[in-house]
Amino acid sequence: MSEVLLLRGGVVVDRSGERRADVVVRDGVVAAVGPDVATGVAGTELDCSGAYVMPGFVDLFSGVGEPADPSVETIESATRAAALAGCTAVLVGVDPSAPLDSPAALHHLRALAAGASCAVVPSAALTMGAAGERLVPMAQLADLGVRVFGDPGGVADPTVLRRAMAYAADLGVVVALDPVDPVLAGGGHLHEGPWSSLLGIAGIPAEAEELGVGRALALALRTGVRLHLRRLSTAASLGMVAAARRAGLDLTAEVTAAHALFVDADCAAFDPAFKLEPPLRPAADRDAVAAALRSGVVDALVSGHMPASAVAKNVPFAEAAFGAATLPWYSATVFSPVECPPARAVALLAEGPARIADLTDRQGGPVVAGRPANLTVFDPEAVWAAGPETAVSRTATTPFAGRTLRGRARHTLLDGTAVVICSEAQR
């Protein structure tokens, strides 16, 4: 990896702020950062004018299909989509159909991830088969490098959840929960409210999530576990998180781009592209999600990428699978419509998620000499169309279809290699 890359003309943004600076990348690491450091250096030029040079993004929620259903998505296609979004790492293991619960499954995943367009970080289930009963061999998996544990869809039995949290607390690993009360949410297909009422479809009440948050907070408080709350979507959930944090709980939280952008009314035409988990909420909740991104109540903006096959979506709304492709477009929402300042965008897309998943040795910045060159050059003014033509996923069903986005990853550097140049995938 002796290639030298010269990132010229951009504005470097990391936790220490913004500064106009060029970046020289050599042998996989950042060699120099500063005005004119690239002058007179031989290497491949990457134009960064009008763009931010940021730590590479880390997506904490990427459904990759493999090994459960490669027809929906593969690690290859998902990581290419991630790289195009500016990601240099994705946390996988969130697919309910393929819970990672053994060292063998971990080794298999790592073998599949060789040569991917970004780092593939495994998260494991909390219980075997995500069935909510027996704990996974958490210590064995932690020894093999797994830092985040959580059952896709949550743990129904609070006894099991409390036990899992206590065990995880000893190991210092993160318990990541989809906060939902499965009984109250059961049988629902979209947010319970005016639109579920008009459309005559069983709803998922906001309280189903809020009970899940309350339960997780109560149990985490006593066990002292590192708790991460996934995919929060209601104003009251975010309020509980803010209050718990003020009370000193060791807690992090994420929201998805879709929940900062879309609302339950988008389901009015019965289009299953808008059938997501958690369900899209009314405008007041959507606005609370966007506000929480700006204010710092949440630590990470995630894709919530959970592609579903055409077969699972070409059916009536109530029969359709939850989830859609979002990975290629999620990072664009941080500037528009969410309107985060650049430093906040770095916190949400790179630094925060890297900290949550214990990846700070290689991911999340800062952009300084000696650090691994996992970088994203992001053009905040690029205007482009979301939709099947920019989908890299194997399945194109997405709520972003037909949306015009502002802000796009221009170049993505993975360990010093340009995997995306001028918004074109190189792998």
Binding site: G193, P194, L198, L199, G203, A269, V315, P316
Partner: protein, 313 residues
């Protein structure tokens, strides 16, 4: 109008036109040979993914009286049992050359999805809890026949509104035609949020009955509710059943309606069901005329020939 997917979104002119057409076809149906060549050469397919012999027969009769050919497809006898999707089934049927597909489906919005997949006109014959537009049209027609107009008519819809496609269609049809609608139910049988609906909501049936022109009772499917939404049938009847005692307090011109089939002794007492003020049989009789109007509106080219009588078409 390319499809009839629901009543919500139709304006007053659309509804009045359909009711006027219905009047024309009712005149046709009163003839010794109740048949017109209006849709000769056209094919209407009925796709029923839920059992409803009455509605299917009503649509097929309507199509035949318009001289259309009919194709009938129901779950019990089809490849749907073998896992074929709605989309594939509909496209297969369309490939046989159909001009309209009449769809009954247990999933709300299934007709809306179907309309995006096929070129044929789609008629919603009931989708989940969402809408049942031809039922609402025949109810509106029945009321217009009885009262002359729906303007200012006070209608109470009583019972399990939450799970009723009939209620959802009727709210919009009645409101758009000028009626004042009150929903009467315990909160457990109401949709979670009706703030956007043009209705008044109460759980006091006796109060409503003092001032109402129409009592529209919904079928109470207590046995189908996995976890009952009211404590007991007896308590439901006590609070929301149209008992003989309650019926005696109704005004002389007040009428009672029900989409059928009735649970006599639950939402309606047997004596009330047999009372001349109960319009259930008129509702059924008007079903064929309404469905003729809908099929003609969607498939008929040019002015109505040979229908005679009634409305201005």
């Amino acid at each position: 109008m390319r499809h009839l997917l629901g009543v919500r979104g139709l304006d007053r002119d659309d509804l009045v036109h359909l009711l006027d057409l219905t009047a024309s076809f009712r005149a046709v149906n009163a003839r010794p040979i109740p048949k017109v060549p209006a849709l000769q050469g056209r094919t209407v397919a009925t796709l029923f993914f839920e059992d409803s012999t009455r509605t299917r027969l009503s649509f097929e009769t309507a199509a035949k009286r318009l001289s259309a050919d009919t194709l009938s497809f129901s779950v019990g006898t089809s490849s749907v049992k073998k896992g074929e999707s709605l989309r594939d089934t509909a496209r297969t049927v369309e490939a046989m050359g159909v001009d309209a597909i009449v769809l009954r489906h247990s999933a709300s919005g299934a007709p809306h999805r179907l309309a995006g997949w096929v070129d044929a006109a789609v008629v919603n014959a009931g989708d989940g809890w969402h809408e049942h537009p031809t039922q609402a049209l025949l109810d509106a027609f029945t009321l217009r026949e009885r009262f002359g107009t729906l303007d200012g008519l006070r209608v109470a819809i009583v019972g399990d509104i939450a799970h009723s496609r009939v209620a959802r269609s009727n709210v919009w049809a009645l409101h758009t035609l000028g009626a004042e609608v009150t929903l009467v139910a315990p909160r457990t049988l109401l949709p979670p949020d009706t703030s956007a609906w043009p209705v008044r909501v109460t759980d006091d049936l006796d109060d409503v009955l003092r001032t109402v022109d129409v009592v529209y009772l919904l079928r109470m499917q207590f046995e189908r509710q996995g976890a009952p939404l009211v404590p007991s049938l007896a308590e439901y009847v006590e609070r929301f059943g149209l008992t003989r005692e309650r019926a005696e307090r109704l005004g002389p011109s007040t009428v009672v309606m029900h989409p059928g089939p009735m649970n006599q002794g639950v939402e309606i007492a047997p004596e009330v069901a047999d009372d001349p003020r109960c319009l259930v049989l008129d509702q059924v009789a008007n079903g064929v005329s309404v469905r003729m109007a809908v099929l003609f509106r969607l498939l008929g080219a040019g002015p109505l020939q040979n229908a005679g009588g009634g409305g201005d078409v």
